[in-house]
Symmetry: C2
Subunit: 337 residues, 2 copies
């Protein structure tokens, strides 16, 4: 039964379990500090010879799903509902991956917040009886994202210090009414927040206000404080966005999360060794961090309560060229073991 | 309570009511046979002076929502969950419309099937207790779609007879646990079907197989025949796709729907007078036909049972240029009065 506390917070009483997960990444992500936790690491951006970057992204998307299914001891025929999306126009990495799998499919667009959005909805689907088994997945790819959102790679454009690197990777999870650990305890669907950021090379700043809004609303409606969590994990604010988030939470909402805050965009790369400016980003960033380090730690009992806040910049090159600012959104999923 | 018959059919026992709806269209749509039923008709493609085509689409998207809210005697603050999407890259017509409304927002991508997807999920949200009041909306715009998916309008490309015209329009609905008419009786989330169509000017052929699959699965799982409906209404197959659908249903599934079949893409324009080739298309097509003619007829009791099958071609220019075929999807919503 869904217990609705406040307008946007869904407390799940059936505790939908995450019974299997998979994370597939590229070479650069594999060389980062979380490399040991990923299920598969590819050595080439093209993943397999003969693929385009978009097809490569779709390929790892499909593989992450297959790994999550295998770990769940389920097949695609056992999945009642598949929720997925990605950064590419018309969400093609997802569509072409799921085409072959013949699962009832809900296409989502939440930019980099899509992992939290799809996970939250997959949990609600199990809780409400819409699905016995649901599946969520997202992906991103450095090369497919660069050519779509910024410049051709061959141009070699210099990226400013605020820029983040789009993660090449895909993560997928299978949820079920299973009473195993870890499980989803609550979900909050976020609202769009826009502080007028127009710099497409500063996604962190565009997303931080939405993250602050969702974190504050979640804690307020759930009557909890930051200290009630082992970790408040933001999607991919990177170093610039993370600093802004903490400042904003402090000044606007009188909330101090610095002791428990982590950010997937900071965790995935080694900023000392890997030249990634403000960190990682992309749908695949929080997806692969969640589907390795975080879920493994929850399962092993190293941590027991994580508020995952997926953040998305609903950026469009067309609207940026027309002078529009970048709307941000953040969805929250409370994971427990 | 959601009664799940078969794997993908959701029978809604609470009968979530559609308590308000709005349809806003452009000049050309206003001149069509359904013109008298729309809430607002604009005389210019730019809707209001100073807008870009994308901003114009976002503007009518926002207006359709406002009209649906007004007719429901609700404000944006009463909406617990807003589900929306459109054809533009990064679904910006929706995002920029909903940005100002501060509603919890789920971004969807289902191409032209988005009205059925968002309506179905909005109904399930009310049924499951996720929302007291939910809102769904979609839009499309002839000019913003042409320049994104095909050619610059100034180029004046000749369109082949199989091509459909993207509808300039937006439709929105508010759903609530209200026990008024019309209401949503059942929902089916579709699967991707791809018969290898590669012609971006033949969306009807790309979508027809998915429509056939969903109609057959719906009727089979619900143990119904076409004659149990006053109307089986496809989203926007147009004349080419509608013929293919009927042929496919007959040959592959032994189903004859010709007595009850209507198509939003055929209904919206007058093929004798308006030069639209195979008919209308776009997220806005089924949205504005549903939010005028169909819901009005259901409310007045002229018809009492409609199976609305929203169809989408998950087309991407990038994937088309790489030689990929166009995946189709269709979601079904059973409307009753």
């Amino acid at each position: 039964m869904i217990d609705k506390k406040g307008r946007a917070l869904y407390v799940l009483t059936e505790k939908p379990s995450i019974i299997g997960w998979g994370a597939v990444v590229g070479k650069f992500e594999g060389e980062g500090p979380l490399g040991g936790g990923f299920d598969k690491i590819y050595n080439s951006d093209l993943i397999e010879s003969g693929l385009t970057w978009e097809a490569a992204e779709s390929h790892i998307h499909s593989e992450a799903i297959d790994i999550a299914l295998k770990k769940s001891s389920l097949t695609k025929n056992d999945i009642d509902l598949c929720l997925s999306g990605d950064l590419l126009n018309q969400c093609v990495a997802s569509a072409y991956s799921i085409r072959a799998k013949k699962m009832p499919y809900i296409g989502l667009y939440g930019a980099c917040s899509t992992m939290a959005l799809s996970l939250g909805l997959a949990a609600i689907a199990v809780e409400s009886g819409c699905a016995c088994n649901s599946l969520c997945a997202t992906s991103s790819h450095f090369c497919s994202a660069e050519r779509q959102f910024r410049f051709p790679l061959e141009y070699g454009g210099v990226r400013p210090p605020t820029a983040q690197r789009t993660v090449t990777g895909s993560g997928a999870m299978v949820l079920s009414k299973h009473s195993s650990k870890p499980y989803v305890n609550a979900v909050m669907i976020g609202k769009i927040e826009d502080y007028g950021i127009t710099d497409a090379n500063n996604m962190g700043a565009a997303m931080a206000p939405a993250a602050a809004l969702t974190i504050n609303e979640f804690l307020t409606q759930a009557k909890l404080s930051p200290m009630d969590f082992d970790m408040i994990l933001t999607g991919d604010l990177g170093s610039v966005g993370s600093d802004l988030l903490k400042e904003l939470l402090q000044s606007k909402y009188k909330l101090d999360i610095s002791n428990v805050h982590r950010d997937c965009g900071i965790m995935i790369y080694d900023s000392e060794v890997q030249d990634v400016h403000a960190g990682g980003s992309g749908c695949g960033c929080s997806a692969v961090v969640l589907c390795s380090e975080i879920l493994n730690s929850l399962m092993q009992g190293n941590i027991s309560s994580v508020l995952f806040v997926g953040t998305g910049a609903l950026m469009s090159t067309t609207m940026s060229q027309q002078g529009e600012s970048i709307p941000g959104i953040a969805h929250a999923v409370w994971l427990k073991n």
